[in-house]
């Protein structure tokens, strides 16, 4: 069985996704076992996206949204935090460590913070060990594919401009 931990990061287009890009441009080192998935806003995350990932044996899920008060859709990141909290409670009921899931807030300029978050999550998962729900590599790959599909579906019909200026309209 493949024991290299796999982390899924659902990232908001406006902040964490850009921060991940910046971390790359800055040549910052962070664990390569994270799969970055773009959401138009973390407010598009569904509890089911998170649970489906864990069901397929993904070891950890990160939801990364804008700083509080800085959401382009006003309160998407606040809604996402509530959903993440609900999913954490469900994981606890199920008997899976809720520490495997976390939400972070950062800005698009926080490339180093993105690298820190991924490093911290990776360290946490190494301490907790691989997910007890992991059966085989194929299932994990299916989980990644499903999450990718869900993130793509969540982006359908949402036009993400780089800012709110007229030039982007």
């Amino acid at each position: 069985m493949d024991t290299e931990p796999v982390i899924l990061a659902f990232c908001c287009h406006y902040c964490a996704y850009a921060a991940a890009d910046l971390a790359g441009s800055m040549r910052l080192q962070y664990p390569s076992n994270v799969r970055v998935l773009r959401l138009p806003c973390t407010g598009k995350i569904e509890v089911n996206y998170i649970l489906t990932a864990f069901e397929h044996g993904i070891d950890a899920v990160i939801v990364a949204g804008c700083l509080e008060g800085g959401c382009h859709f006003l309160e998407g990141n606040l809604r996402a935090r509530k959903r993440v909290e609900r999913a954490k409670k469900l994981l606890e009921e199920i008997g899976l460590e809720p520490e495997r899931l976390d939400m972070f807030n950062l800005s698009s300029a926080d490339g180093p913070r993105f690298a820190e978050i991924v490093t911290e999550m990776s360290r946490r998962i190494k301490q907790l060990g691989p997910s007890p729900l992991r059966s085989d590599h194929k299932s994990v790959q299916q989980g990644i594919e499903k999450a990718t599909h869900q993130a793509q579906k969540a982006s359908e019909g949402v036009k993400n401009d780089c800012c709110r200026s007229q030039a982007c309209a």
Binding site: E46, F54, E55, I94, L96
Partner: protein, 230 residues
């Protein structure tokens, strides 16, 4: 609408764990609106149950999901029959009526409840539902300025308030409004305070659940061959 909330995952898991194939059936009506048993919640519970079963070492139980429009009507349940034939048990995410309707429809299939049915109520604010009606079968809201003392007074007093009303709150729970304060305030605002001066007659409880399970029959709708069921 009927308001319900989900049972804890381990409780549901323990009910179904000895079956080989279990079908989770959501309901698209009241419990969808109160975010307890609609399509989305059924998907979440299905995922949670599969994980929970796996974590206790049970790899022999398969859990699948589906949602029908309304679990309390045969017309919608009929369409479920071919699917149910493939399963050993059903876990319903409908209200208590939905669970029993499925049990009546599929006499050879065990049916388990996934929800705790709570009450008839309204959406008070986003994510908060409040009880408003006890279904007593003899509505007297007209006597009480449109606020039901049977449902909303902890003592069901028809001639209130009691001595436990404090600053508009009930002595049973300081977060609960005193129904009689609400009745008084509304009657005053409507200019009908004098209507509260007469003593309210005792409630006829024979129309309520105390008289056993009730039935409503509309003869003009009882077309031969279509109902009512005996």
């Amino acid at each position: 609408m009927i308001v319900a909330d989900r049972k804890h995952v381990p409780e549901i898991r323990d009910m179904i764990k000895n079956h080989r194939r279990v079908l989770l059936v959501g309901c698209g009506t009241c419990v969808t609106v109160c975010l307890a048993g609609g399509e989305r919640e059924t998907g979440i519970l299905g995922s949670a149950l599969r994980m929970s079963l796996k974590l206790i070492g049970n790899r022999g139980t398969t859990v699948d999901e589906c949602t029908i429009e309304r679990q309390c009507e045969d017309a919608f349940i009929d369409a479920l029959a071919p699917r149910v034939a493939e399963y050993d048990a059903i876990c319903s995410l409908g209200c208590g009526a939905g669970v029993q309707a499925l049990a009546e429809h599929f006499p050879n299939t065990p049916v388990y409840p996934g929800l705790n049915t709570q009450f008839m109520g309204i959406l008070q604010s986003q994510g908060v539902w409040a009880e408003k009606c006890a279904g007593c079968g003899n509505c007297r809201l007209g006597e009480f300025a449109g606020i039901c003392p049977i449902t909303r007074c902890a003592k069901r007093q028809l001639n209130g308030p009691c001595g436990g009303s404090r600053d508009g709150r009930c002595e049973v729970n300081e977060n609960m409004d005193c129904a009689w304060q609400l009745i008084y305030d509304r009657a005053k605002a409507l200019g009908i305070l004098e209507s509260l001066e007469s003593t309210a007659a005792p409630q006829d409880w024979s129309t309520g659940l105390d008289g056993g399970p009730r039935k409503v029959v509309r003869e003009d709708q009882c077309i031969a061959g279509l109902g009512p069921k005996v």
